[in-house]
C-alpha cells in the first residue's frame, strides 16, 4: 500500500556494517538458495498467521469471496447470454422475472465482491499493522530490559533500524498475502469451472497459466537484485544528505557546496541508472504478461469456433472460457509480489529475532535503603575493576569513598576512566571485580528502582525526551509545579523556561533540538535535582554552561536542601525542608573553578587513582596533577608533554 514510513529516517539509520547491511544477503538471490528463502518466507508468514489467525481468516475469506465472485461474474454473464439475452432475441420476448434475476445476480455479485475487497484489503492492513505493533512493542521491551553492556555492543543506528525498517520489512508480505491466497483460490475455481464447461477448450486455455507464472518468476529473479541495489543506493543518498546538511555551516564557510553537490549527484545518478534498468525490465515484462491471456483468448476463440461448428460446444461456453482467462490471468501477478517481498522479509525477521532472543539482564536483589533517609548518602568503592574489552581494562583497583554531604571531584585526562566510574556508580554496568556500596549496601543487592531513588546522574550529553519541559523534569513522577520550578531555579534554568511560549508545558521536540547545549544540560540537571537525590553524580554535566553560572549552580548544591535554597522563601511547600542536609556529590570536572569547590580531588590516570587530596595538596605534591590542571597557565610558556591517555 502507500509507503507511509519516513524512508529518509530509516535509511539514515541503516547501519553500514557489512554484516548487517540493509536489504538482501547475496545468498538470497542465488537460485540455489532461493527455494530456501521461499520456504523461510512462508515460515515468517506462518508466524503472523498463528499470531493473528482471525484477522487472517477474515481477509482470506474476503479475498476468496472476491476471487470466487470475479469468476461468478463471468458465469453470470454466460448465464445471462444463454438464458436471457439469446432466448430474448430468438423468441422476441422474455419474462420480467428473468430480467429481475439478471439485475439481482449482477448487483448481488458486485456487492458481495465489494464486501470481499474491503475485507481483504482492510484485513491485510489490520494484520500487517498489528504484527508491526506486536513486534515493535516486543523489541522496545527488549531494549529496556537488556543491560547497558548489550547496548554498548550494538550501534545506535542498527537498533533503531531493527525497531523500524526491519519490522516493516519482516511483515511486508502480509499486504499481498490475502490477495495471493485469493488468487490461488480463484485459479482453482476457474480451472474447475473451465474443465466442467468444456474439456478441450479448458486445456487450450490452461496453457496460459503456467506461462504467466513462469514469466512472473523470471521477472522476479531479474528484478530483485536491482531492487536491492536501488534500496542500498537510497540509503546511501540519505546518509550523504543527512551528513551534508548537518555540516551545512562547514560546507558554506569553506565554499564546498559544489563538491558536496557532486558527491550527492553521483549517487543520485547511480540510483537513476538502476531505476531505469529496473524500469526497462518492467517495460518488457508488463506487456508480455498482459499479452499472454490475450493470446490465450485468441487461441480459445479459433478452437471454439471450430468446435461450435462441429456442434461439440455451445457459443456461451466459448464466451465463458475466454472471459475466465482474461479475469484470472491478471491477478496471478500478486503471487509474484508475494514472492518478491520474501527476501527482504526474511532478512528483516532474522534481524528482529536476533534482538528478541538476545540474552542478558541486570539482576537485582531485594534490599531496600531506609525509606526515611535524608541528606547525603555514603558511597564506597572497594578495589573496583572494570574492562569493556578484556585487553584494555578501563579501571583497576579503584578504592574511593564519598562521605555524606561531601564533594569529591574526579580529575583526569581524556579516557582516564572517569565516565566509566560514573557508569559503575549508577549501575549502568557492574564491576568485574571489587564492590560498590551505598550506605553499606552492595549496589547489586538493591531492589529494582531503589538505586534511582537515591542516586541521580547528570550525564555529559544531556538526553531530552520528546515531551514537555515538565515531563522532562518529572519523568512522570507526581510532583507539584512548585517543586519543578524550584529545581529549574537551582539549575539556573528557570529564566529561559519562563520565556518559552508555554512555560512548563512547552514541548521540546525530538531530543530537545530547539534548545542550546547549555540549556539542555541545565534541564537535565533540574531533572536530577527535583528528585532530591542523596548522591548526585555530575559527569562533566555543565561543560556547555557559562562558568559563572556553573559556579552558582555548584555553590547551591553544596548548601542544605538545594531546592529550598533556590526556592522562593515565600513558597509554603512542606516538601521543601531547609533542615535537609546537602547531598553527597561526585563530580567529573575540567574547570578549575569546579575542582576548587571539592572537598577532595581524585586524580585518575589510566584507570588507576594516581593521587588524592585537596586541590591545593595535589598541586603541591603531584607534578602530573599540577601539569594537567595548570595547562592554561603554562600554555604560553613551556609546552607540557602530553600524557599517555591523551595521545591514546
Amino acid at each position: 500500500m502507500t509507503q507511509v514510513v519516513d524512508r529518509s529516517t530509516d535509511a539514515q539509520e541503516e547501519p553500514r556494517d557489512a554484516v548487517v547491511a540493509p536489504g538482501v544477503p547475496p545468498s538470497a538471490l542465488d537460485p540455489a538458495t532461493r527455494t530456501a528463502t521461499t520456504r523461510d518466507g512462508f515460515a515468517v508468514l506462518l508466524v503472523a498467521i498463528r499470531r493473528e489467525p482471525w484477522v487472517f481468516a477474515v481477509s482470506t475469506i474476503g479475498s476468496v469471496l472476491f476471487g470466487a465472485l470475479t469468476v461468478a461474474d463471468a458465469w453470470v454473464l454466460g448465464w445471462s447470454t444463454d438464458h436471457v439475452l439469446l432466448p430474448a432475441y430468438r423468441d422476441g420476448e422474455i419474462g420480467a422475472g428473468m430480467l429481475a434475476a439478471v439485475v439481482a445476480l449482477f448487483v448481488g455479485v458486485a456487492l458481495l465482491r465489494a464486501v470481499g475487497i474491503v475485507a481483504r484489503r482492510l484485513g491485510a492492513g489490520i494484520m500487517q499493522y498489528r504484527m508491526q505493533a506486536h513486534t515493535r512493542r516486543a523489541v522496545t521491551r527488549q531494549y529496556l530490559r537488556l543491560p547497558m553492556a548489550w547496548h554498548q555492543q550494538h550501534p545506535t543506528g542498527e537498533l533503531l533500524s531493527n525497531a523500524n525498517s526491519d519490522v516493516e520489512a519482516a511483515w511486508g508480505p502480509i499486504a499481498p498475502l490475502p490477495m495471493a491466497v485469493g488468487t490461488v483460490a480463484m485459479m482453482v475455481i476457474a480451472v474447475v469451472q473451465m474443465l466442467a464447461t468444456d474439456l478441450v477448450l479448458a486445456f487450450v486455455g490452461l496453457l496460459v497459466f503456467p506461462a504467466v507464472i513462469a514469466a512472473n518468476l523470471a521477472f522476479q529473479r531479474r528484478s530483485s537484485p536491482l531492487m536491492t541495489r536501488a534500496q542500498e543506493l537510497r540509503a546511501e543518498l540519505s546518509e550523504v544528505a543527512h551528513e551534508s546538511f548537518d555540516g551545512a555551516m562547514v560546507v558554506k564557510t569553506l565554499g564546498r557546496e559544489s563538491e558536496e553537490t557532486r558527491r550527492f549527484a553521483e549517487i543520485a545518478q547511480r540510483l537513476r541508472e538502476v531505476n531505469v534498468r529496473a524500469g526497462r525490465l518492467r517495460a518488457a515484462f508488463d506487456p508480455a504478461l498482459a499479452a499472454l491471456p490475450s493470446l490465450g483468448v485468441l487461441v480459445v476463440l479459433a478452437t471454439g469456433v471450430h468446435r461450435v461448428g462441429t456442434g461439440a460446444t455451445a457459443a456461451g461456453d466459448v464466451v465463458t472460457i475466454a472471459y475466465l482467462l482474461t479475469v484470472v490471468a491478471f491477478p496471478i501477478r500478486s503471487l509474484g509480489w508475494l514472492l518478491g517481498e520474501f527476501p527482504r522479509s526474511v532478512v528483516g525477521y532474522r534481524r528482529v529475532t536476533a534482538v528478541l532472543e538476545a540474552d542478558g539482564e541486570m539482576p537485582h536483589g531485594e534490599s531496600r535503603l531506609p525509606a526515611d533517609a535524608r541528606g547525603g548518602a555514603r558511597l564506597e568503592l572497594r578495589d573496583v575493576a572494570y574492562a569493556y574489552d578484556p585487553d584494555q581494562p578501563l579501571l583497576h583497583g579503584v578504592t574511593l569513598d564519598v562521605a555524606p554531604g561531601r564533594t569529591v571531584a574526579l580529575v583526569g585526562a581524556t579516557a582516564s576512566g572517569k565516565s566509566t566510574l560514573t557508569s559503575l556508580v549508577t549501575r549502568l554496568v557492574d564491576p568485574d571485580a571489587g564492590r560498590l556500596t551505598l550506605d553499606g549496601v552492595d549496589l547489586r543487592d538493591l531492589a529494582p528502582g531503589e538505586l534511582a531513588r537515591a542516586v541521580a546522574v547528570v550525564p555529559q550529553t544531556a538526553f531530552l525526551f520528546d515531551d514537555t519541559v515538565r515531563g522532562n523534569v518529572t519523568l512522570g513522577a507526581d510532583l507539584p509545579d512548585d517543586a519543578v520550578w524550584a529545581a529549574l531555579r537551582a539549575a539556573q534554568a528557570d529564566e529561559f523556561v519562563a520565556a518559552l511560549p508555554h512555560g512548563l508545558d512547552t514541548r521540546l521536540g525530538e531530543r530537545g533540538t530547539s534548545l542550546s547545549g547549555g540549556q539542555r544540560q541545565r534541564l537535565s540537571l533540574a531533572r536530577a535535582l527535583v528528585r532530591r537525590p542523596r548522591l548526585l553524580v555530575l559527569d562533566d554535566a555543565t561543560s556547555a554552561v557559562d562558568p559563572e553560572v556553573e559556579g552558582r549552580i555548584l555553590a547551591a548544591l553544596r548548601r542544605p536542601d538545594p531546592l529550598a535554597r533556590a526556592a522562593d522563601a515565600s513558597v509554603d511547600d512542606p516538601a521543601i525542608d531547609p533542615d535537609v542536609p546537602p547531598p553527597s556529590l561526585l563530580v567529573v570536572a575540567y574547570r578549575k573553578a569546579t575542582i576548587g569547590l571539592a572537598d577532595e580531588v581524585v586524580h585518575l590516570d589510566g584507570g588507576r587513582i594516581a593521587a588524592r587530596g585537596t586541590h591545593a595538596e595535589l598541586l603541591a605534591t603531584s607534578p602530573a596533577y599540577a601539569a594537567l590542571v595548570n595547562a592554561y597557565e603554562t600554555a604560553d610558556e613551556t609546552p607540557v608533554p602530553p600524557t599517555a591517555e591523551e595521545t591514546r
Binding site: D6, L105, Y129, A163, V251, A268, G279, L298, G509
Partner: protein, 620 residues
C-alpha cells in the same frame, strides 16, 4: 543555534517554503519547469501510450466479431474468417506490447532523469539557503525532501501521471466506442457510475487527511522508539523503563490506529468502482434485451458491449487508484519544489563579481545595521576599521550581537543597512568562490564528516597531498598528537566526529582552516570545557594559525582578549569601546571594565585561578 521555537525572529523569516499553498496543477507545471527532462519526447510517449491503450480494445472487438460473424455466420461457423481475424488480432496484440514497452521504458528514463535533476538541484539549494533557514529546519525533514519525497514523485510520474491521462483517454475512447454501438446503453453505463464520480472528491479529501495523520504519527513513532536506544543510560539511571515503554506503546497504538483508518478509506473507496461495474453490467443486459425487442441492437453487440463495460470499469478504477496515490506524490513534489521556491537571499555575483587580492585583508564596516526579518535591530550603525594582519577580539555579553558580526564578515548574512568591505570591496560584489577562498569561519563546534581525518581535511583544501597535510599539522604543533592516533590520518572520526573528543574535533577544525590558508580568519570561540592539556594544545595551534593573517575572534574568554592586538566591545548592538586590552581595562565604569571586574572576581573567588568573563555560551 538559538532556542529556535521560542524565537520570534525565526518564525518571521527563516522557514523553508512548505509549498502547501500550491494547487495540484500548479505543482505539476512548476515541477515540469524545474525538470525539463520530463517534457522530452513527451509527444512520442503519449502517442505510444494511446497506441498501447487502444490495443486493449482489440481482444473484445475480436470476441464480438467472432461471435457475430464467425460463430453466427449464415451457414454455420466460418473458421477461415475466424482464423484471419485471429491473426490480425495477434498482430495488434504484438504491436500493443511493443508500444507499451516503448512507453514504459521511455517514461522511466525521463522520469528518473528529471527527478535526479530535481533532487540534485534541491540538495544544492539547501546549501545555498541562508544559515538561519538551515538552522530552523529539522535535518530529518530537509533530508526527506531530497530522498523519500522525490521517490514518491517517481512512483507517480512513472505509473501515475501519464497512466491517469491514458485512463481518462480510455474512458473517453470506451465511451465513444460504446456510443457507436449504442448511445442508450452508454447512457446507462454513465448513469451507473455517476454516484462514484460525484463522491470522488469527498473521498480524496478524507484520504488526504488520513494519510497526513499517518505521516505525523510515523514521526512520533520514530521519536518514541529512539528513546530507549539513544537515552538508554538515562532511562536506566532514573529507572523510568515503565514510563518509557508506556510512551512507546501509546505511539505504536496511535500509529496503528491512524494506518488502519487510512487503510479503511482506501479499501472502501476502491470497492465502490466494482459496485458501479456490477450495476452497469446488469443495466446493459436488461436495457440491451429491451432495446433488442425494438430491433435497435443485436445480441452480439450487447455482448460486445458487456466486454466494453469492463474496458470502461478498468480505467475508472485505475484512475481512482492513481488519484489516491497522487495525493501523496503531489504533496511530496510540493515539498521538494518548496525548497527551490525558498529564496537563497545571498546572491553570488558570479562572473560579474570581483576577485579579492591575496594577502592579509583590511576590514571595514560602514554604518552597518542588521535585523532579522520582522525582528528588532541586532546591530546598529557599526563603523569599524580593522588593519590587515591584526588580531581582533570581539567581546560582549550574551545577545550583544557579537556573533552577528562574524556572520556578516563571512557573508553568511547580508547587512540590512550599510556595507561590509574587505580590502575596500563590498562583500556582495565579491565572487562567492573568491570570498570562500580568502575568508574562513571556524564555528564553535568543529563539525566533522563521518570519514577519515584526511578526508575531513580535504574540505579545507581538496588537492592537498599527504605531505602537505603533515606539514600543516607540524606548523600547528599537532605532529605528536597525530602520531598518537591509532591510524594516523586514516583514523575514522565517526558520525559528526564523535569518535574524537570535543577538543580533538576543534583541533581538526583548526587544521582544516590552516589548509584552507585564508587571508581573513574568523573564529567563534568554543565554550565547551575540554581537557586542560588539550586546551593548551588548541591555544598553541590557534596562535600559529593566526600568524600572518587578519583574524577576528568572537571571544568568550577574557584571556583571548588579553592576547589580541585590539579589543572591540559590543554592547546592545553597538560598538561601545575599542583598543588594546590594557588600555580598556583602565577605563573605569565602562562595559569592558565591568566584564573585566567580574572576571577578576571569578579568578580570586574560591581558589579558581582562571575563568571566563560573563560572556555566555547561549548566544551562538
Amino acid at each position: 543555534m538559538s532556542a529556535a521555537t521560542a524565537d520570534p525572529r525565526v518564525a518571521a523569516g527563516g522557514r523553508v517554503d512548505s509549498g502547501e499553498e500550491m494547487g495540484a496543477l500548479e505543482t505539476i507545471r512548476l515541477g515540469l519547469r524545474h525538470s525539463p527532462e520530463l517534457r522530452e519526447g513527451l509527444g512520442v510517449t503519449l502517442l505510444l501510450a494511446v497506441l498501447a491503450s487502444a490495443g486493449q480494445v482489440v481482444v473484445p472487438i475480436t470476441v464480438q466479431q467472432t461471435l457475430d460473424r464467425g460463430l453466427g455466420a449464415p451457414g454455420g461457423p466460418d473458421l477461415r474468417f475466424t482464423v484471419l481475424l485471429g491473426l490480425a488480432a495477434l498482430v495488434a496484440v504484438l504491436v500493443t506490447g511493443l508500444a507499451s514497452y516503448g512507453m514504459t521504458s521511455r517514461l522511466f528514463r525521463t522520469a528518473e532523469s528529471g527527478l535526479a535533476t530535481l533532487r540534485t538541484k534541491a540538495f544544492r539549494h539547501v546549501h545555498d539557503l541562508p544559515v538561519l533557514t538551515q538552522n530552523t529546519e529539522r535535518r530529518g525533514a530537509l533530508v526527506a525532501r531530497v530522498t523519500s519525497d522525490v521517490d514518491q514523485v517517481s512512483q507517480f510520474l512513472v505509473f501515475g501521471g501519464l497512466l491517469f491521462v491514458v485512463s481518462v483517454g480510455q474512458v473517453l475512447v470506451a465511451t465513444i466506442v460504446m456510443a457507436v454501438y449504442s448511445w442508450q446503453l452508454t447512457l446507462v453505463v454513465w448513469l451507473c457510475f455517476a454516484p462514484l464520480f460525484a463522491s470522488l472528491r469527498y473521498f480524496q479529501r478524507k484520504l488526504s487527511d488520513a494519510y497526513g495523520t499517518v505521516r505525523r504519527q510515523v514521526g512520533a513513532l520514530l521519536s518514541a522508539v529512539s528513546e530507549p536506544v539513544v537515552g538508554a543510560g538515562v532511562v536506566r539511571a532514573y529507572a523510568v523503563q515503565d514510563r518509557t515503554q508506556q510512551r512507546i506503546d501509546e505511539a505504536v497504538e496511535r500509529f496503528q490506529a491512524a494506518s488502519t483508518r487510512a487503510q479503511g478509506f482506501t479499501a472502501f473507496s476502491f470497492s465502490l468502482g466494482g459496485v458501479s461495474g456490477g450495476l452497469a453490467n446488469a443495466g446493459v443486459i436488461v436495457v440491451g434485451v429491451l432495446l433488442g425487442f425494438g430491433g435497435d441492437i443485436s445480441a452480439g453487440e450487447v455482448l460486445a458491449f458487456a466486454f466494453l463495460v469492463s474496458l470502461f470499469v478498468g480505467p475508472v478504477q485505475m484512475g481512482t487508484q492513481i488519484l489516491t496515490d497522487a495525493q501523496n506524490a503531489i504533496a511530496g513534489w510540493r515539498r521538494v519544489l518548496g525548497i527551490l521556491e525558498t529564496p537563497a537571499d545571498l546572491v553570488d555575483p558570479g562572473e560579474a563579481g570581483v576577485e579579492l587580492p591575496r594577502g592579509p585583508i583590511a576590514v571595514r564596516f560602514e554604518d552597518v545595521g542588521f535585523a532579522y526579518p520582522g525582528g528588532p535591530p541586532v546591530l546598529r550603525g557599526i563603523d569599524l576599521e580593522l588593519a590587515p594582519g591584526s588580531r581582533i577580539a570581539v567581546v560582549g555579553e550574551t545577545g550583544s550581537g557579537k556573533s552577528t558580526i562574524a556572520k556578516l564578515l563571512t557573508r553568511l548574512m547580508d547587512p540590512t543597512t550599510g556595507r561590509v568591505l574587505l580590502d575596500g570591496l563590498d562583500v556582495r560584489e565579491i565572487r562567492q568562490a573568491s570570498l570562500r577562498r580568502s575568508v574562513v569561519l571556524v564555528p564553535q563546534e568543529g563539525f566533522l564528516f563521518d570519514d577519515t581525518i584526511a578526508a575531513n581535511l580535504a574540505y579545507g583544501r581538496l588537492d592537498a597531498t599527504e605531505a602537505e597535510l603533515r606539514a600543516a599539522a607540524d606548523e600547528l604543533g599537532l605532529g605528536d598528537w597525530l602520531a598518537g592516533l591509532p591510524h594516523g590520518l586514516a583514523t575514522r572520526v565517526g558520525q559528526r566526529g564523535e569518535a574524537l573528543s570535543a577538543g580533538e574535533r576543534q583541533l581538526v577544525a583548526l587544521w582544516r582552516a590552516q589548509l584552507a590558508d585564508p587571508d581573513l580568519l574568523v573564529l567563534d570561540e568554543a565554550t565547551s570545557a575540554v581537557d586542560p592539556a588539550l586546551e593548551m594544545r588548541i591555544g598553541r595551534a590557534l596562535d600559529s594559525l593566526m600568524r600572518g593573517r587578519t583574524s577576528v575572534t568572537i571571544a568568550h574568554r577574557l584571556s583571548t582578549a588579553e592576547q589580541a592586538d585590539e579589543v572591540v566591545v559590543v554592547d546592545r548592538g553597538e560598538v561601545v569601546q575599542r583598543g588594546p586590552h590594557a588600555e580598556l581595562a583602565r577605563q573605569a565604569g565602562t562595559a569592558y571594565a565591568r566584564l573585566h571586574a567580574s572576571w577578576v572576581a571569578q579568578q580570586s573567588g574560591r581558589g579558581a585561578d582562571r575563568a571566563v568573563a560573563s560572556a555566555g555560551t547561549l548566544d551562538a
